[in-house]
Symmetry: C2
Amino acid sequence: MTVSTEKTETPDIYRDLHQRLVTAAFTPGEKLKPEKLRALYGCSANTIRDVLLRLSTVGLVSFEEQRGFRAQETSPEKRHDVARFRILLEQEGASLSIRNGDLMWEAQLSAAHHKLSHIETTIAKKGELDAYLPLWSGAEREFHDTLISACGSPLLRATYRNIYDQFRQQMVAQERDFGSNYFQAIITEHQAILDAALDRDEPRCREAIFEHMKRNFI
Amino acid sequence: MTVSTEKTETPDIYRDLHQRLVTAAFTPGEKLKPEKLRALYGCSANTIRDVLLRLSTVGLVSFEEQRGFRAQETSPEKRHDVARFRILLEQEGASLSIRNGDLMWEAQLSAAHHKLSHIETTIAKKGELDAYLPLWSGAEREFHDTLISACGSPLLRATYRNIYDQFRQQMVAQERDFGSNYFQAIITEHQAILDAALDRDEPRCREAIFEHMKRNFI
DNA sequence: CTACAATAAAGTTTCAAAATTTTAAGAAAA
DNA sequence: TTTTCTTAAAATTTTGAAACTTTATTGTAG
């Protein structure tokens, strides 16, 4: 069901494992054995190895020479580190975008926020997070990525995306209480970020980003 | 000569290729064919593939599905991007280190600077950069890494190291004029960074870092 | 002469098995 | 009982060859 039967399977395996990792389908530190996963995707162990090697590249999987792969471990320190670093990158990226972004950027940001806001409102009402988690996670990622998309630095943006995924992995793994009031809160926070960005108010946007993330500190 | 004959060769292949890449033994964009490199290290093509996959994770090698590996391309935009991002990370890391660093940090920073300074002075006098490039590159990396080593963020530090290596790769590839006066200049700049750090003067240290890097802008 | 298709060559990815290393289990000694 | 050594099992890495893709070459039609 989750496995595509297309000719070139590797990208699908990558995407599927990536998705599983950021939605905590594996418990942190769990061993990822190519030989076991092989069966799941109907390919050889080496193909899995390739994919895991690439996922270790982006920090979702930890890899140690001669002792294989694991789903990235989590700890309060790690979560704190990821959150701090994410703030740094997003604040800087947002500042640059506010300076450089054109009308198209504003439009795309509005659009991304609209989608995100819709999904978050639905979850806040219905409360069925499990069903919406992949959808919401994707929309949130897109909103934050769009926010920094006009920063003019491909490197900053690529690094941010990696960190965002690590953040998601760490937070979902922590089994936070994603209750209804949690979503009420982040709806407000995302709105504040959007408003500050469209007002081209750098300090206020930085502050809004910090407010959005500070709950994840130790 | 460059190839170790130990039992477990993979780490050596990784280190050796890493070294070659940051010292521009490959021209930017040059194709890295496992089949060719295989002979060099006396192993199979897949082992090379593994190493290249990991090097692509740290940005030294570019990888495209179904069309293999290349030494990272270079361009004015890319160099500018790397330089800007490096400044961001180093300024932030240095600021945090200045706030958090203890006496041990000061001592290590002094030691790293002492070594670096010695090598740079030698090069400035003798001018034989080619012979000293790996030594100097390693010492400079260590100095900058030590500067941010007390920042308290493993993620920031690891990211900085990757960016430093990409920076080195980009700059050496550009065939800059590493003349004697170039080294005279950076000796002064490194001294300024050290002094500001030991004085615990964040703004001055940030400024010194910027001054050290601004020559690499477009 | 150019554009397009067919073919050949080169390069990349996948595979299953062999070689190596790590981890686990059990036996002997302190 | 605890520790250490030996042995067996499990897992990882490496290999060489097969399958597949891309790129280059050649030939044909417009």
